[in-house]
């Protein structure tokens, strides 16, 4: 007994010795964020971005401008003739980029051929199927036995390009967004915005936002900032929300403007600077996508879209099992007791119709006879 207590005293003395060097109440979990930071840098990040929209709206140029690389070297564009009956393909480009020790595995999913054919009915189907496939694969991996190296190929964000040459959303846009708004975070983009004057841009943004609400399209919502954030942050947040859809211009060529070398487009009447907020919303989009909301996009994908998919998947599986059981029950019971409604076929022959009419008559006459019999019986009882 004495020995253990002395041991205890020795041990606590050691610890007390350390604590006395720091504050008496210090525990040390304030370093958790640093530990998370360290681990995440070590693990690296991944992000899957999908770009969708008609061809010729500047999707590839914008992707190159966003990530300052050239992802689309040597791509082949089809002729108009070849595009008449083109189907939608899904192509993936994956690149590894690194900045200040932070590694990012970036996957760009492209949809060449979307909206290009003469008949575009259900052209969004292959895109929706692709997203579902990624969800399904993740679902299977997650439910598997060995979960060490799950690859997350789920699409985290979809940039949908709206043409600036029309008056707002088109039927194709509405159908695409409605088909995918519950599968992926949709961020609408107003493409090639250098065709619109500032007043036209404002009008178009308002019109598109109205139409999005009118058609019940659920685009990606920026998380509301807490009430205890400072005014500047709140102002920025409000500006961001009112910029939807982002009016962007893309360019990877460097031009000389006012003595500076900037990325832009050179016209006879002036130079459009891509990174100038007075010219377009490129900077806002880049900040939102890469610098501030990338993690939130991934979280929403994981927590909302994927969970919805998973729940639906499980529900449909159990429903199928129940249906099978019910179907077996049906065959055992006799068929004549079931009031199976007769569905009349479109081409009913004359004889069938006559037979039905005659049956009706017989029934009516039987009823009449029954009534007469009852009547006579009551008469007899009356006597």
């Amino acid at each position: 007994m004495e020995n253990s207590s002395s041991n205890n005293r020795f041990r606590s003395a050691m610890f007390n010795h350390d604590d006395e060097d720091q504050d008496k109440e210090y525990v040390g979990f304030a370093t958790l964020p640093n530990q998370v930071h360290r681990k995440s840098v070590k693990k690296g990040f991944d992000f899957t971005l999908m770009v969708a929209g008609e061809s010729g709206l500047g999707k590839s140029t914008l992707v190159n401008s966003l990530f300052l690389t050239d992802l689309y070297k040597d791509r082949k564009l089809l002729n108009a003739e070849e595009r008449i009956t083109q189907t939608v393909e899904i192509t993936k480009h994956t690149v590894d980029i690194e900045e200040k020790g932070v590694k990012l595995k970036l996957t760009i999913v492209d949809t060449p051929g979307f909206g290009d054919a003469v008949n575009n009915t259900e052209c969004w189907k292959s895109v929706a199927d692709y997203i579902d496939q990624q969800f399904e694969q993740y679902f299977r991996d997650e439910s598997g036995l060995n979960r060490k190296n799950i690859q997350d190929n789920r699409v985290h964000c979809c940039l949908y390009f709206i043409s600036p040459f029309g008056h707002g959303l088109r039927p194709l846009d509405v159908e695409f967004m409605k088909a995918l708004h519950e599968k992926v975070n949709i961020v609408p983009i107003l493409a090639k915005a250098d065709t619109l004057t500032p007043s036209e841009v404002k009008k178009k943004k308002i019109k598109i936002r109205e139409e999005i609400e009118q058609y019940g399209i659920k685009i990606y919502q920026f998380p509301d900032c807490d009430s205890d954030e400072d005014e500047e942050f709140k102002q920025q947040d409000l500006e961001l929300k009112e910029s939807i859809p982002f009016a962007v211009i893309g360019s990877n060529t460097v031009v000389e403007a006012k003595g500076k070398r900037v990325r832009g487009r050179l016209y006879p009447w002036g130079i459009v600077e891509v990174e100038n907020s007075a010219h377009c919303d490129f900077v806002k989009l880049r900040n939102m996508l890469v610098r501030t909301h990338m993690q939130d996009l991934k979280d929403v994908t994981r927590e909302t879209h994927y969970e919805n998919y998973r729940a639906q998947c499980i529900q449909s599986m159990t429903r199928m099992v129940v249906k099978e059981r019910n179907r077996n029950k049906l065959t055992r019971e006799s068929g004549t007791d079931f009031p199976i409604p007769v569905v009349p076929t479109v081409t009913e022959s004359e004889t069938e119709k006559l037979i039905r009419e005659k049956d009706e008559e017989l029934r009516r006459m039987q009823e009449m006879l029954q009534r007469i019999q009852d009547h006579m019986i009551t008469q007899k009882d009356g006597h």
Partner: protein
């Protein structure tokens, strides 16, 4: 308008003579011009392009007026055409301008039938002209020519190539109307991109056999400028009705934060070229081409369809009247045959229906007999039962009467005994 203003070749039997003095028939063109000014001119433009691509704005800019157009919706279920006619005047020349716009073009999910309403419209105008021409009492000089003289096809400035819908539509229209392709909203394409884009478009049109309108090169006065212009096709245009102050003038322009796009600056866009080609130089040629090429083609196809030929199987010229008579006979014979067929069918149907009804009647009759018998049987059994009941009742009442009688008798017997006792008691 004369139907063929082709330069005349010198006839073989006619000698050319030289004049000894001034006669004065060199004023003939002036007489013609005065007459046409008096009559006024008419011009019809068809604008095909996606909703919102800038058709109405370009028309406003070209003709320097406000044509009062309103924004269309993107959600039209089908392509429609909207035609509006205006009377314009410049110096002493009057122009009756009809602008036809497509509504909802390129918006549907399935655009396979999008070209059809346009083709139908163009054919309808040709058809009404043909009808007027074939009339017995006709007034062609007073006729308001509604045939489409020029078709401006608005190409979307994607910077890559034509859209599949553009190719399909232009192929259907190139034999019916003079197509002038223009690149709309060209202020989104930089100079180098524009050059590549134009080359790509023209090569796609050529490789698919689409015949667009070529500015005519036969007249020396305009051949040179037309050749240059032909090389600038398709024209990259920008339209605007708003005016911006540039230098010290107010010009039609679009103001951006990075600069001002001037519509009438040839360095900025091809608007001036389009205006010159379409209106200043070649308007009359467009009308002529429509009449001599496209309309004649339509007329020939239509008449051949109806069975008219210029020569009969033996290669002898056949007059219109003979063909017409033959057609009429054929038609009457066909009509008679159809009538007989219908009559026969009608008679047959009536017979069938009659037979059916008779059959139904017979069935009903037999059913009725059967039920009547059933009813009689039921009645008989019920009567029997009633009779039995009556018998029962009567036998019951008889027994009751007998019982009552017995009771009465027994009562009187007892009463007599009592009386006897009573009486005996007294004595």
């Amino acid at each position: 308008m004369a139907s063929s203003d082709v330069a005349r070749q010198p006839d073989k039997g006619v000698r050319p003579l030289s004049l000894a003095g001034h006669v004065g028939f060199d004023s003939l063109p002036d007489q013609l011009v005065n007459k046409s000014i008096y009559q006024g001119f008419c011009f019809n433009i068809l604008c095909i392009g996606e909703t919102g691509i800038g058709k109405s704005t370009l028309m406003d800019t070209l003709f320097n007026t406000n044509f009062e157009n309103f924004e269309s919706s993107h959600f039209e279920p089908q392509v429609k055409l909207r035609a509006q006619t205006y009377d314009l005047q410049e110096s002493n020349v009057r122009l009756r301008l009809t602008v036809v716009n497509t509504v909802g073009f390129g918006d549907q999910m399935n655009k396979q039938e999008s070209y059809q309403p346009v083709v139908d419209y163009i054919d309808r105008q040709f058809e009404s002209y043909l009808q007027e021409e074939l009339k017995i009492k006709r007034s062609l000089h007073n006729y308001h020519d509604s045939r489409v003289h020029a078709c401006l096809y608005f190409i979307s400035p994607s910077g890559h190539s034509l859209k599949s819908l553009d190719l399909v539509t232009m192929k259907k229209l190139d034999s019916k109307v003079n197509i002038i392709p223009v690149i709309a909203k060209a202020d989104t394409i930089s100079k180098s991109e524009l050059h590549k884009f134009k080359i790509k478009i023209m090569s796609e049109l050529v490789s698919n056999g689409v015949q667009i309108y070529q500015f005519p090169l036969d007249d020396e006065t305009v051949a040179k400028v037309n050749t240059t212009m032909n090389g600038h096709l398709p024209f990259a245009v920008v339209g605007s009705t708003e005016e911006v102050c540039v230098g010290n003038k107010m010009v039609k322009a679009r103001q951006y934060p990075w600069g001002v796009v001037q519509v009438e600056n040839e360095n900025h866009c091809d608007f001036v070229k389009l205006r010159e080609m379409l209106i200043c130089v070649n308007m009359e040629d467009l009308r002529e081409q429509t009449h001599t090429r496209h309309y004649e083609l339509y007329r020939r196809c239509k008449l051949e369809e109806m069975g008219f030929k210029d020569t009969d199987p033996e290669c002898k010229p056949v007059s219109l009247q003979q063909t017409y008579e033959a057609k009429r006979q054929e038609f009457l014979v066909e009509l008679q045959r159809r009538e007989d067929e219908m009559r026969q069918m009608f008679v047959q149907r009536v017979k069938e229906k009659e037979a059916e009804l008779k059959e139904a009647e017979r069935e009903l009759q037999s059913r009725f007999e059967q039920l009547k018998r059933l009813h009689a049987d039921e009645k008989a059994t019920l009567e029997e039962k009633k009779r039995l009941l009556d018998e029962d009742q009567s036998s019951f009442s008889k027994r009751r009467a007998a019982a009552q009688l017995l009771q009465a008798q027994s009562l009187t017997a007892n009463g007599k005994k009592d009386k006897d006792r009573k009486n005996s008691g007294f004595m």
